[in-house]
C-alpha cells in the first residue's frame, strides 16, 4: 500500500523520536552502571597494588607489573578467617530461626482466629521500629544477668565446655544467635503476615473440613505455599545479620567471638593506613551476601513480585 508523503513523514518522525528516547534511556542506564561500578573498580584496583604503587598511581588505574600483588588478599583472609567462621556460625542459625518463628507467628495472627491478635500485632509492628541504640544497654545488662556459659555448664551431668572443639567464646556466639533471632522476628512476622493475608481464606476452611488440624494445615498447606516468601525472608535476614555491626561489637567486645564486620577494624596495623588490605577485606566480607543474591535472586524476585 502506498502511503501519502505526509503520513510517511509523520511515521518516520515518530520512529526517530522513539529511537532518541531509547538511546537516552540506555545512556542513562550506562551512566548509572558506571556510577555504581567505579568505586568497586577503584577498590578492586587498590586491593591488588602494593602500598607504594597505590601512593604513586590514580585509584582507578590498573597496577603496573611491578606494583601488582595479591598479598593484601592473603593477609586479609588470614586476619578475617576466624571471624568469618564466627559470622557464619551465628548468621545461618539466626536467619533460620527468625524466618521460621516469624512465619509461625504470622500464621497464628492471620489464619487462626483468637482474641487479642490486634494488640499483639501492634507490639510486633512497634518492635520493627525499635532503634538498636535504645536496646543496647538493656541487652548487655540482660546477657550479664543471663549467663549462658554458667547455665550450660550446669545443665547436664557433664560440662559442655569441656567437650572437644567447644570454646568458651562460643557462649557469645549463642548470645548473638538468640539476639539476632529475637530482633529479626518482628520484621519476618510482618513480611509473612502481608503474604498470608493474600492467601484465600476458603483454602483454610476447606482444609479444616477435610479434617486437618491447625498444625497440619501449617505444615502441609501454608509452608509449601510460602516457599517464595521464605526465599525473600531468608535472603533479607542473611544480609541484615551478616552486615550487622552494633550488636556484634557490644556482645563480643572485639574478642574471640567478634563477627567479621567488627574484625574489619583489625586490618589496620598501628599507624599506617593499609588501604590495599582494607579494600581486599571489604571485598571478602561482602562476598557471601553477593553469592546469596546471585544464587537465590530469582526466588527473591518471585517473592516480592
Amino acid at each position: 500500500m502506498q502511503l501519502k508523503p505526509t503520513v510517511r513523514d509523520a511515521v518516520s518522525s515518530l520512529r526517530e523520536r522513539e529511537t532518541r528516547y531509547k538511546l537516552s534511556v540506555y545512556a542513562l542506564a550506562i551512566l548509572g552502571l558506571l556510577a555504581y561500578l567505579l568505586p568497586l573498580h577503584g577498590g578492586l584496583m587498590t586491593s591488588i597494588k602494593t602500598i607504594s604503587e597505590f601512593a604513586q598511581s590514580l585509584p582507578m588505574a590498573p597496577p603496573s607489573p611491578s606494583g601488582f600483588t595479591l598479598d593484601p588478599w592473603f593477609a586479609a583472609m588470614d586476619i578475617l578467617g576466624p571471624s568469618m567462621i564466627n559470622s557464619f556460625a551465628f548468621t545461618i542459625p539466626a536467619m533460620v530461626f527468625s524466618a521460621v518463628l516469624g512465619s509461625l507467628a504470622a500464621y497464628g495472627m492471620t489464619m487462626v482466629d483468637w482474641r487479642g491478635q490486634v494488640g499483639l500485632m501492634a507490639l510486633f509492628v512497634a518492635a520493627t521500629f525499635l532503634p538498636k541504640q535504645a536496646i543496647v544497654v538493656p541487652l548487655s545488662r540482660f546477657w550479664s544477668i543471663v549467663d549462658i556459659h554458667a547455665i550450660l555448664a550446669n545443665l547436664g551431668p557433664l560440662n559442655v565446655w569441656n567437650l572437644p572443639y567447644v570454646q568458651d567464646y562460643h557462649a557469645t556466639i549463642l548470645e548473638l544467635i538468640i539476639t539476632h533471632s529475637a530482633y529479626g522476628i518482628s520484621i519476618c512476622t510482618l513480611l509473612f503476615r502481608g503474604y498470608y493475608l493474600t492467601i484465600d481464606q476458603e483454602l483454610m476452611e476447606a482444609a479444616r473440613l477435610d479434617g486437618a488440624s491447625i498444625t497440619q494445615i501449617y505444615r502441609e498447606i501454608i509452608v509449601p505455599l510460602s516457599y517464595p516468601m521464605f526465599a525473600v525472608v531468608l535472603i533479607f535476614q542473611f544480609t541484615t545479620i551478616w552486615n550487622e555491626f552494633f550488636y556484634g561489637l557490644i556482645l563480643s567486645a572485639g574478642g574471640e567471638a567478634a563477627p567479621v564486620t567488627v574484625a574489619l577494624n583489625d586490618l589496620n596495623s598501628g599507624y599506617a593506613q593499609l588501604y590495599n588490605r582494607q579494600t581486599a577485606g571489604a571485598f571478602i566480607v561482602a562476598l557471601p551476601t553477593l553469592i546469596v543474591y546471585l544464587m537465590f535472586g530469582d526466588k527473591f524476585a518471585e517473592g516480592v513480585r
Partner: protein, 376 residues
C-alpha cells in the same frame, strides 16, 4: 446420609440479624437449594452448618445429634466452595485425597483407590497428576466436587459452585450434579442466587429474605402457590406482575384501572382493604381489543424477542402505572412497539396478596387443585 434439622436458629453479628428463627427439617438424601437475594443470610446458614460461624441461638442437628459446639473437622461435612479452594501446590490426586488422609485411617493404597474411583465418576481420572493451575475452570470444579464426594460425608454443602462457569458448562454441570447427588444419595444443601438452579435442581427449596424464611417447599409449590409477595416475585422469570389496589365492594380499583372480583376472590380477601393483585407474565392473555369486563387497553412500550417467546412491556391506557406490565407471548405472534392491545387477567390466573403484609390470600385454582410435586 442423614437428616439435617434447624431448630429456631438465629445468627446475630452485634446488632445485625443475619438469620432469624430458622426452622428446617431436611430429610435423608434430599437435595435442598437455599436461594435468596444477596445478603439474605443463605451463605451464613451454610457456614453455620460447616462450623465456620457460631450459632447465636437455637441448634442445628445432623441425624438428631446437635452439632453446635463441634469443630468443623468433627462434623463429617464436605463442602464445595465458590472459589473451589483447591490446594494449589498439590496434584489433583493430592487434592482429592487430602481429606481421606486426615479424617480416616486408610492406608495410602486404599486412599489412591478411593480417589481413582471418585475421579472416574467425574471423568477426571486422566488429570490426577496435574496441578490445579493447569486445569480449566470446569475441570477445577470437578476436582472440587471429587474432593467432597470421596469423603462420603453425612452432608454436602455447596456454596454457589457453578457461578464461575460459563453458561453452557453451567447447564451441563447442573444436570451432572443432580445425577451425582442422586447416585450418592447424600443430603445436600446447595446455596445459590440463581433461581433456575433452584427450580431445576432442588427437591425442595428454601427461600430466604432478610434472614427470614419465606417458604420451604417444592419448586412447583413455590411457583404456583407462593406464600407471599416476595416469593411470588422472586421465583419466575420474568417476575410476576404486581398491581397495588384498593378494595371497593367487589371491585379492586386505582385511578384509571379497576378489576371486578369473582365471588371466591371476595371471600379470600375478607375485610382487607389494601390488596395486591399478581399475575404471571405467561398467564396474561392478549386480545385485539378489550372485549369483556376486566379487559383493559394498553400500549406496547418495549418488546424483548427471545425467539420462542417475546416479553412485551405494556402500559395500560388512562392509568398511571410506574412499572410496565410484562406479558410473555408465543414467539409466533407478531407485535410492534407502539401497538394498542387488549390485556386480559383471567380469573384463573390471578393471585391476591395482602397489600400491607404481603401474605398470599388467593392462588388461581389448578387442575384438580393439585400441584405435581415433581415432574418425574
Amino acid at each position: 446420609m442423614s437428616t439435617l434439622t434447624f431448630n429456631d436458629v438465629t445468627k446475630r453479628y452485634d446488632d445485625v440479624v443475619a438469620v432469624e428463627d430458622l426452622d428446617l427439617d431436611i430429610e435423608d438424601g434430599e437435595f435442598i437449594v437455599v436461594v435468596g437475594p444477596s445478603g439474605c443470610g443463605k451463605t451464613t446458614t451454610l457456614r453455620m452448618i460447616a462450623g465456620f460461624e457460631e450459632i447465636t441461638e437455637g441448634d442445628i442437628a445432623i441425624q438428631d445429634e446437635v452439632i453446635n459446639g463441634k469443630r468443623p473437622q468433627e462434623r463429617d461435612i464436605a463442602m464445595v466452595f465458590q472459589s473451589y479452594a483447591l490446594y494449589p501446590h498439590l496434584t489433583v490426586e493430592g487434592n482429592i485425597g487430602f481429606g481421606l488422609k486426615h479424617s480416616t485411617d486408610l492406608s495410602s493404597d486404599e486412599i489412591a483407590t478411593e480417589v481413582k474411583e471418585s475421579a472416574e465418576m467425574l471423568g477426571i481420572e486422566e488429570l490426577l497428576d496435574r496441578k490445579p493451575g493447569d486445569l480449566s475452570g470446569g475441570q477445577q470444579q470437578r476436582v472440587a466436587l471429587g474432593r467432597a464426594i470421596v469423603r462420603d460425608p453425612e452432608v454436602f454443602l455447596m456454596d454457589e459452585p457453578l457461578s464461575n462457569l460459563d453458561a453452557k458448562l453451567r447447564a451441563q454441570m447442573r444436570t451432572e450434579l443432580q445425577r451425582i447427588q442422586e447416585q450418592l444419595d447424600v443430603t445436600t444443601l446447595y446455596v445459590t442466587h440463581n433461581q433456575t438452579e433452584a427450580m431445576t435442581m432442588g427437591d425442595r427449596i428454601v427461600i430466604l429474605d432478610d434472614g427470614k424464611l419465606q417458604q420451604f417447599d417444592t419448586p412447583m409449590e413455590c411457583y404456583h402457590r407462593p406464600n407471599n409477595e416476595f416469593v411470588a416475585g422472586f421465583i419466575g422469570e420474568p417476575s410476576m406482575n404486581f398491581v397495588s389496589l384498593t378494595r371497593d365492594g367487589d371491585t379492586l380499583t386505582r385511578e384509571g384501572f379497576d378489576y371486578k372480583l369473582t365471588e371466591d376472590m371476595v371471600a379470600s380477601i375478607g375485610s382487607k382493604t389494601d390488596v395486591t393483585l399478581g399475575v404471571r407474565p405467561e398467564d396474561i392473555d392478549v386480545v385485539p381489543e378489550p372485549e369483556v369486563r376486566n379487559d383493559f387497553a394498553a400500549t406496547v412500550d418495549v418488546i424483548e424477542p427471545f425467539g420462542k417467546e417475546h416479553n412485551l412491556y405494556v402500559f395500560p391506557e388512562n392509568a398511571d402505572f410506574e412499572e410496565p406490565i410484562i406479558v410473555t407471548l408465543s414467539g409466533r405472534r407478531r407485535f410492534d412497539e407502539g401497538d394498542r392491545i387488549g390485556v386480559r387477567f383471567a380469573p384463573d390466573s390471578v393471585h391476591l396478596f395482602d397489600g400491607e403484609q404481603g401474605d398470599a390470600l388467593r392462588h388461581p385454582p389448578n387442575d384438580d387443585d393439585e400441584i405435581p410435586s415433581s415432574v418425574n
